[in-house]
Symmetry: D2
Subunit: 404 residues, 4 copies
C-alpha cells in the first residue's frame, strides 16, 4: 500500500469508498465563465478569452479533459441560444464530449426590465420575462438539460419605489407559470441574492424567500445557493443543512467573497467555510437523506484578473479537494462527541479532516478517471492558453462592452 493510503487508512478512512464518492462528483462550468468579464469600472482583457460559443466549448472541454469531472456546461440562453434552440449547439458540445448543463434565461439585461422582470409594475415586461423563461424551458427540453436555473435582478433602489407586496405576488405568479411549463424531467432552481443590482430591496433576497416562492410554485422547484449571495456573517452551511432537511436544496453556484458578491474563485477567501458546506452534505448523505444526492454543483464566478481556463481548472480542483476532505470526516467520532457535548473533540474531528493532505488521493482518482493527476500543472505544461490566445487574438478587437 502506498504511504498516503496507509496514512489515511490508519486514520480510519475507507479509501475505496471515498474514491467511489469522488468519482461520482461532477461540477458544471458555465459558458460565460470563459468569456471576458469585468466590474462596473471596466474590463481587463485576456487574449485567450472565449469570444464565440465554439471557443467556450473548446475551453470547457479542456477543463473536463484535465479534471475529468466537468462533463456539463451551463448555458445562458441570451448569449448561447440568442435565436432559440439550435441543434448545432448541442452537437458542438457532443463533439467535444460535453453535454448541455443548466439552462439560464436572462431577464435582467433588456431595457424592458428597468423596473424588474417577473415583478415589474409593467405588465408587458412581466409577460416578456415569463415568455422568455418558458421558451428557455423548451430549449432545455430539446437540449437534453434537466435544470432551469433562475436568477432575478428584480428589486427596487429607493424607499417607496414600488409596492413590495404586489411585487411579491407577481414574482410568485410568474414562477408558477414557469413551473407549469416544466416537463417532469426538469427541476427549476430559484436563486436568491441580498442585493446588487438592486440596492434597496431585492425580490428574492434570501433562502427563506426562495423556499417560500419555490413551494408556492410547485414540487419541481428547488433552491439554488450561490455561495457569494449572503449578507455579512450569514452562516451558509446552516442554510444548506436546513434546505437538505426540507428536501429543498437544488444546487450551488460556487464562488468566494470577502465583502459583497465579489465573485472570486471558490475557496480563495474562506476555504474552511466551503469545507463545512460539503460537510453538511456528507453528513446528510451519511444520515440517509436522499436530497444529498440530488444536488447540482455549478461554478459561477467572475475571472476578472485570473486567466479564464486556468482559473476554472484551479476552481474545480479546489472544490474537489474540499469535497474530498469532507468525505474524510470521522462521522462516528463526530456523532459521539456531539451527543456528549464534547465540543473540542467534535471540532478537532472536523479540523483533522480539513487539514489532511489529499493531493495524492486526488491524483490517483484523476488518473483512474483518465484525467491529469495535477490538472493545473498539466495545463501550464500543455501551453493550451498560449495556443488559444494566438488563435483568438484577432477576435478580441471589439471586445468590451456588455457584461459577460
Amino acid at each position: 500500500m502506498s504511504d498516503w493510503k496507509k496514512r489515511l487508512a490508519d486514520r480510519g478512512v475507507d479509501v475505496d469508498a471515498v474514491k467511489t464518492q469522488l468519482k461520482r462528483f461532477t461540477i458544471e462550468t458555465p459558458s460565460w465563465g470563459y468569456a471576458q468579464t469585468g466590474t462596473r469600472f471596466g474590463k481587463f482583457l485576456h487574449p485567450a478569452a472565449a469570444k464565440t460559443f465554439e471557443h467556450k466549448v473548446q475551453d470547457a472541454a479542456e477543463v473536463h479533459k484535465l479534471t475529468g469531472i466537468t462533463p456539463g456546461m451551463a448555458v445562458h440562453v441570451l448569449w448561447d441560444f440568442p435565436t432559440g434552440f439550435e441543434p448545432a449547439v448541442v452537437k458542438q458540445c457532443a463533439k467535444h464530449g460535453l453535454r448541455i448543463g443548466a439552462i439560464n434565461p436572462n431577464v435582467f439585461q433588456d431595457q424592458a426590465y428597468k423596473f424588474g422582470s417577473f415583478a415589474s409594475p409593467d405588465a408587458a415586461a412581466r409577460k416578456q420575462a415569463v415568455a422568455h423563461c418558458i421558451d428557455s424551458v423548451a430549449i432545455g427540453r430539446q437540449a437534453g438539460s434537466n435544470l432551469l436555473s433562475l436568477w432575478f435582478a428584480d428589486g427596487t433602489n429607493f424607499p417607496g419605489q414600488d409596492d413590495l407586496a404586489r411585487r411579491k405576488r407577481a414574482m410568485a405568479a410568474g414562477l408558477r407559470q414557469v413551473h407549469d411549463a416544466l416537463p417532469e424531467s426538469m427541476t427549476m432552481l430559484v436563486e436568491y441574492k441580498p442585493f446588487e443590482p438592486a440596492f434597496y430591496t431585492t425580490d428574492i433576497q434570501d433562502w427563506g424567500m426562495a423556499v417560500l416562492l419555490a413551494r408556492q410554485a410547485g414540487p419541481r422547484a428547488k433552491v439554488l445557493v450561490d455561495t457569494g449571495h449572503h449578507l455579512p456573517g450569514c452562516n451558509i452551511e446552516q442554510i444548506v443543512a436546513i434546505l437538505l432537511d426540507e428536501g429543498m436544496l437544488g444546487g450551488f453556484h460556487f464562488n468566494d467573497r470577502k465583502y459583497a458578491d465579489d465573485d472570486l474563485t471558490a475557496g480563495s477567501i474562506a476555504p474552511y467555510q466551503l469545507f463545512l458546506i460539503f460537510d453538511q452534505i456528507a453528513a446528510a448523505r451519511a444520515a440517509g437523506n436522499p436530497n444529498a444526492d440530488a444536488v447540482a454543483y455549478m461554478i459561477d464566478q467572475s475571472h476578472n484578473l485570473k486567466p479564464k481556463v486556468e482559473a476554472m481548472v484551479q476552481t474545480v480542483c479546489t472544490i474537489q479537494s474540499l469535497y474530498a476532505k469532507a468525505l474524510l470526516v470521522d462521522r462516528k467520532t463526530l456523532a459521539k462527541a456531539q451527543a456528549a457535548g464534547d465540543i473540542v473533540l467534535a471540532e478537532e474531528t472536523l479540523r483533522a479532516a480539513f487539514f489532511t493532505e489529499v493531493g495524492e488521493l486526488l491524483g490517483e482518482v484523476r488518473s483512474e478517471m483518465g484525467a491529469a493527476p495535477d490538472p493545473l500543472v498539466e495545463l501550464r505544461r500543455s501551453k493550451y492558453i498560449d495556443r488559444r490566445a494566438a488563435e483568438r487574438r484577432a477576435d478580441q478587437a471589439d471586445a468590451g462592452g456588455s457584461y459577460a
Copy 2:
C-alpha cells in the same frame, strides 16, 4: 382651525382619521426594561431602577399615565412569576391600571441550557424547556394574556459542535408541543435572531426559519420581528411586507442598533427605517390586509446608560411619532407614482410625510386621551424619577450580577 391642522389639511391629510388611528395604537413596555441591565462588561447602576415587581408596575403605570398608549406590560416568567401563576401579580397590575401583556418564558439562563433548550442534545434539557413553556401558557391563560412570546438562545458556538438537522427537528418538535398546549385565545410568537449568545449557528436565525417553524407548529404561531435582530444591511421593512402578505406577522420588539444587537432605544440610530416599517403596515392596512391590525407592538431594549423610565417615555413617543408620520403618507399619489415608475415622486411622497412636524398633532391626541401633551417634559417636571430613586435607593445595595 389651528395652524398645524390647516397645514396638514392643506397637504391632503384627513386629520380626524389619523387621530382615530393614533388612538388605537398601543405599545407594550417590558417589565425587565425598568430593572438594572448592562453589557457583559458590567452594569452602570441607576438609583431609580426597579428592583421589585411592584417597582416595575409603578414605572410602567407612570409611562402609561404620561403617554396614554402603554396599557400592557410584558412579563418574564422567570423574574415576574418565579413560583408559577400568582393572582397578586395581576391584581397589582390592575390596581395601577395595567394589564399583563406578552408572557415571556425563559429557557436560556438555567445551567441545564448550556447546549440549548428545545434543540439541546440533552433530552432532559429539552423536556425541561418545553415544560416551562407549557407552564407559561398556563400562566398566560390565568393572567388574561393572549400572547406567548418565545425567544431561544439555542445554537452552537463552533463548527461541528452539534448535528444541525437534528437540532432543527428538535426545535420544530418542541414548538409543536407548545402550540398544542395553546388555548384558542392565545397566539405564539416565534422570534428570530442571527447570533448572540450563540456565535456559530443560531437555531432560529432569520425570518425564513421562523416562518418555516411557525407553520410547522400550527395556525396560532406567528413571527416576532425584533428590529435589532438582523445581519448588516438586511431590509427589515421588506420582511415586514412579506410577513404581512403571508399573514404571518405576529408582532415587534422595538429597539435600534448600529452594529449588532445593540439594544439602543428605538429610532435613535435609523429613524427613517422605523418609519419605513410603519409605512409597510399602513400600506397593508390601506390595501385591506387584515394582518395589519393584528400586530402586537412591544418594546425590548436595554437602557444601559439612559435613566429607565425616561428612556421608556422617550421611546414610546419616538415610536408613536414615526407611526404618525407613516399615517400621513399620501397613498394615492404614492400608488400613482409607483405604477408610473416615477421613482423620485414616490420617494418624495414618503419623505414629505417623514419630515412633517407632528408634535402638535400628537399633543392634541394625547390631551384628548388624558395623557401629557409632551410626556418627556412632564416626566421631568414631575420629578418622578428623583422620588423613586429616593424611595428605592436602599434596595439597590446588592444590585448587579445576573442580566436584567
Copy 3:
C-alpha cells in the same frame, strides 16, 4: 414675520444667521453624473442623458439655475479632457455660468492598470499613472481648479497576489511625486474605499490609511470622505469629527447606500446619518475650527434608474435641507446636556433640529439667491428633461459600453 420664521425664532433659531450660512453653502455636481451609467449587469438608458461635454454643461447649468448652489462642475480628465487641457472646455462652462470644479484623473480604466496604478508591480504602469496625475495637475491649474481629487482602484483580488508592504510604499511614493507637482493654490484629496473593484485588499482602504498617506505626501494633501465607502456599521460622523480635529478633512463625495458602494442618491437611505455628519461640521465651526470652512462638498453617485437631472436636483435639495437642519441645532443646550451626561436631552436636541420643517426657510433662501423656491417642482414644470431628451435622442444610438 411670517409663520415659519416665527416658529423657528420661538425655538431660539437665529434665522438670519442660518440664512447667511445657507447662502455660503455650495455643492459641486460631477460631469459624469449626467451621462449614462449602470451596474456590471448593464445599463438602462435614459433618453435625456448627456452624451457630449456640451450636454453635461447644459445639465449642470440647469441644476445650478434651479438650486442656486452648484456653480462648480467636477470633471474627469479622461472623459472631459481626453486630449489634455482645452480652453474651449473652460469657456463652455463660463458661457453657462459654471466653473471647473475638482479635477479627477482616471488611473483605473486603461489596460495598463490591471494590477494597479501607483501601486502596480509593473514600473511602467506606475510611471504612466503618476504622469497622468501630474498632467491632471497642469490641466487643473490652467482650468482654474483648486482641487485634485484622487481615487485609486488599486488593490488585489486574492491572497498572495502581491507584496502588500511594497504596494504601500509605492502608493506613498506616487502620492509624494504628485504632491510635489501641486501649485500652492491646489489641494490634493485622497479618497479611500474598502473594496470594489479590488476584492481582497484595497491599497487605500480606510480613513486611517488615507491620513497616513496624505501626511506622508505633504501639507496640501487632505482626505476625501465618500459617504458610500465604508464597511457595514462604520461611524462616518465620527471619522468626520476626527479629520476635522486633525485639520485633515478635505471634502466629501455624497451618495447613500444600504449594502456596499451602492451609489444611491444622497440621503435616500439614511438621512439622519447625513444630518449627523453635517452636525459635526456645524459643531466644529461653532467651536472655531477653521477646517470646518475649508471643506469641499461634491456629489458622486450613480443614477441608474432615476432621470439624471432630476436625481441631481433632488440630491442637491436633500443635502441642502439636511445641512440646514444641522444649522438649527441648539448648540448651547446641547453642550450643557453633554457636560451633564444628560443623554436624553442631548439626543432630543439633535432630533428637534432634524425633524424641523425647513421647506419655507429654503424657499426664501433660494428666492433671494435667484433660484427656484422648489427646484424639483420647477424642473418638472419647465419640461427641461423632455426637451433635452428630444434633442439628444439621436446621439443615444450607440450609448452603452464603458462605465460613465
Copy 4:
C-alpha cells in the same frame, strides 16, 4: 530521515530553520481566561474554572507544561492585583515556572466610568482612570513586565451624547500622561475596537485611530490588534502589513469571530485568515523588517462553553500550527509569481503551505522542548481537569456575577 521530514524537504522547506523559528515563538495566556465567563445572558459554570489567582497560575502552568510555549501569563490589575503590587503574586508565578506578562489595567468596570474613562466628560473619572493606569505601570515595573496593554470601553451610545472632538483630545491627553510614566523598558499597547460596550461611537475604533493616538503619545506606544475587533469584511492581514511597515505593530490578542466580537477560540472560524496574518509577519521578517520580531502574541477569548484549560491548549496548538504553516511558504516562488502578475501561482504557493500537514513537525519540536507531542491528547490522558474540578468544586458556590 523520517517520512514527514523528507516530504517537507522535497517541497523545499528548510526544516531546521523552521524548527528554530518555532522554538522562539511564544504566546501569553491571560489569567482571566481560566475563570468563569459568559455573555450578557448569563454564564454556564465550569466546575474546574479558576476561582483564585492560585488556580489561574496552576492552569497557566499546566498549559505551559503541555505546550512548552506559554511561559508568560497576562494579568488584569483589578482582578489579580486588587490592592496594588503584591510580591507574592510574582513569586507564585515563578514557583510554577511562569512570568508575569502584559499588565492590563481596568478602566471600564467602576461606576465612575459610566460615560468613559480617559475620554469621560467628568474630570474626576478621567483623573481616576489615568491614575489607575500609572499605578499599573508601577505594578508592571515591579512585576518585571515589559508590556502595558490598554483597552478602553470609552465611547457613546447615542447621537449627540458627547462632543466627539473633546473626547478625542481627552483620550490623547490621557495616553500622553501614561506614556510619560513608562520606564524605558516598557511598551504601551493601544487596542482598538469598533463597538461594544459602546454602541454609537467608540473613542479608539480602528487601527487608524490607534496609530494616530499612539504616535501622539510617544515612541513606546504601539498598536495592539485584537483579531475579533473589526467591522465585517475588514482585511486584518493588510492592517498587520501596514503596521509592520510603519513599525507600529505592538502585538495581538488572538480569538476568532463570525459576527461581532464573538471571542471564540482562535482559528475556529477562519483559520485561513489567521494563517494569512502570520504570513505577513513571516514575509516582513524575510524582508528584514525588525518589527516582525518585536510582536507580542497573546490570547484573549471567552471560553463560554468549552472547558477552560482544554480550550486554551487547543488554542495554543491551533495558533502554533498556523504559524508553522506560514513558515513553510516558499517565499522565492511567491516573490517571483508576484512580480510576474501570476496570481494563480502566487495563491497556490500560499495554499500549498496552508494545507501542508504539520502534526509530526510540531510533535518533534514539542518533544525537543520537553512538552507533550500532542498536548490535547496528553491533557485528556492526564485527567488534569477532573482533578482540578474536584479540588475547586467547593469554591464555585458563589460564582457568577461580574464578567471574568
